[in-house]
């Protein structure tokens, strides 16, 4: 079984990496990094923070573009072009197909993130060299931890993409739902905690129903803010292992739940 899953993952990964669109994403990331070098001098003191902000934003946004366009395309193309008929004519179970595609997507994202991260490290080292006095708060380990959790966030998004792809074959619908999940996941924490403080201070009646809805949503959509270590990396703040472990566990368990659901749904699908 592992050999089959790995074979499909490898094929998916190669398809993704050789997609010309990947170059566009790299160019975009390079552009942001160049912007970083140009703009750093405008700020007064906290150049370390600004550099980290822009680098992690480049890494994160490049990942988003990758997932929303290339990964969704990789999933949808199989069904659109009927390549899935060929794959499923080999002894793949539906679940193996889902897991194989997912690991393939993970590999593509890993490849792209590593390359952007390498360029990013170069940029940070360069700006650090130009303005050494203003990087007081910067620590490489925290920077890499933030980069890792950005990757975990993309892995989560890939799982969401695979899940929606298992339900619908139209890539546009998958795109819309994935983007919506991302936006909800990113804003969820802010809104929930804001409403909690509002409810504590003023009118309780109106927000209670909304609060309940949001609590339900928080069980369905992942809280992407938990994976956001950008501010900590920007200022070199200390991180506890318990927090990292909890976040990792949250991400990985959510991914597993989604993929199992996707496998179950996919078992019932028919391919015309």
């Amino acid at each position: 079984m592992m050999q089959r899953v790995w074979a499909l993952a490898l094929v998916t990964c190669k398809e993704g990496i050789r997609d010309r669109s990947l170059y566009g994403i790299f160019l975009f990331a390079l552009f942001v990094l160049g912007l970083n070098i140009a703009v750093a001098g405008f700020f007064m003191r906290d150049l370390g923070k600004v550099t980290v902000d822009m680098n992690l934003a480049a890494l994160s946004f490049a990942g988003l573009l990758l997932v929303f366009f290339i990964c969704i395309n990789l999933m949808a193309k199989d069904i659109d072009k009927k390549t899935i008929h060929l794959v499923l004519s080999k002894p793949f179970s539906r679940a193996e197909y889902i897991w194989g595609k997912y690991f393939g997507l993970l590999l593509v994202v890993l490849f792209a993130q590593v390359i952007v991260l390498l360029f990013s490290c170069g940029t940070v080292a360069y700006v650090h060299g130009m303005y050494p006095n203003y990087f007081a708060g910067f620590h490489w380990p925290v920077f890499f931890i933030a980069a890792f959790f950005i990757y975990l966030q993309q892995a989560l998004l890939c799982a969401i993409v695979v899940f929606f792809s298992s339900i619908t074959s139209t890539s546009f619908i998958t795109l819309i739902f994935s983007i919506a999940s991302y936006i909800v996941g990113v804003s969820l924490e802010e809104v929930v905690f804001y409403l909690r403080t509002q409810a504590a201070s003023q009118d309780v009646v109106a927000s209670l129903q909304l609060q309940r809805t949001l609590e339900t949503v928080s069980w369905l959509v992942p809280n992407f803010a938990a994976f956001d270590f950008k501010i900590e990396a920007a200022h070199g703040l200390a991180l506890e292992w318990s927090r990292l472990a909890m976040t990792c566990g949250y991400g990985i368990s959510y991914i597993i739940v989604l993929l199992v659901l996707a496998s179950i749904i996919f078992k019932r699908r028919e391919f015309n």
Binding site: F42, D53, S60, S187, E190, F224, D228, I231, A234, H235
Partner: protein
């Protein structure tokens, strides 16, 4: 036939390009004029900014900070007066920026530089700096700024001394802070204390305009301190008060009466403190 066809298109390009250049220049000039006239920009309140940032709060804070810098830079280059409305916008912007990323140091420096000297809004500046001190709790500079504001502008020597003491306990603070706090508590309003503060501010700052301002003020205070010292000497020796400041020169305690760089005239308070009619503020042009 195709040759003529090609040259027709090239001719069109040659005709269209100058038109484009004209509109390019015109549009940019228009935008430049428009920016002069604009009052204040719109500010998205922080609870919405935090959500709209979609996980890029730090980056949004950086961007908003650049916007504030350009806004006030525009005002300065166009030599426009900064109105009270502008200062409200400044304060609200810094508030939003520090809500997005409370650890961001630059807004606090800008606050200390502008809201105090230029705007005179000391309490509001202190409130913003206090927010920073809460998050950047290992940064000695923030309680130091609050202490300075309390001492120099608000004349609340007790509060000033307290904040300086807090700053002195934080890592990296200069060694003279505890003594400074003690002096503040004791001497309170002497100009020499302010001179020490200003020297530190000058070392901190690397913006040329700011430095020039601080330099001027330092000169004024040093001159005032010189007069105060001479006056103290005179009183101790002669056991009586002067009738006019020129007495210090004739009696030989001063070589010559130092000038007030702000163009005002010196005066003496009862407790021996020297002040100036200019109030150490730049005359309006």
């Amino acid at each position: 036939m195709s040759e003529r066809f090609d040259s027709k298109w090239w001719l069109l390009i040659l005709l269209v390009l100058p038109v484009y250049v004209f509109f390019q220049l015109g549009s940019w000039e228009q935008r430049g004029r428009l920016r002069c006239e604009q009052t204040v920009g719109f500010l998205v309140p922080s609870q919405y900014s935090r959500v709209l940032a979609c996980g890029y709060k730090g980056l949004l804070a950086d961007f908003q900070f650049l916007r504030i810098l350009t806004f006030f830079g525009d005002r300065s280059t166009n030599q426009q007066p900064v109105t009270a409305q502008d200062w409200d916008y400044f304060r609200d912007s810094i508030d939003v920026i520090t809500d997005l990323d409370p650890y961001f140091y630059d807004p606090y420096v800008l606050t200390e530089g502008f809201m105090t000297w230029e705007a005179g809004r000391y309490q509001e500046a202190n409130a913003l700096l206090a927010k920073g001190a809460q998050y950047r709790h290992n940064d000695w500079r923030l309680p130091y700024f609050i202490g300075f504001n309390n001492f120099f502008f608000l004349k609340d020597y007790a509060a000033g001394a307290e904040y300086i003491m807090v700053a002195s306990r934080l890592p990296g603070s200069p060694g003279y802070l505890p003594t400074l706090a003690a002096r503040l508590a004791y001497y309170g309003g002497k100009s020499q204390t302010a001179v020490l503060f200003l020297k530190q501010m000058l070392a901190e700052n690397n913006d040329d305009r700011m430095k020039a301002r601080l330099q001027m003020r330092l000169q004024a205070l040093e001159n005032a301190a010189q007069i105060e010292e001479a006056l103290q000497q005179f009183r101790n020796d002669k056991k009586r008060d002067i009738s006019a400041l020129s007495d210090l020169v004739t009696a030989g305690y001063l070589d010559n009466l130092p000038e007030d760089p702000y163009g005002g005239e010196w005066g003496v308070l009862e407790n021996g403190r020297v002040f100036s009619t200019s109030k150490f503020v730049e005359p309006k042009k």
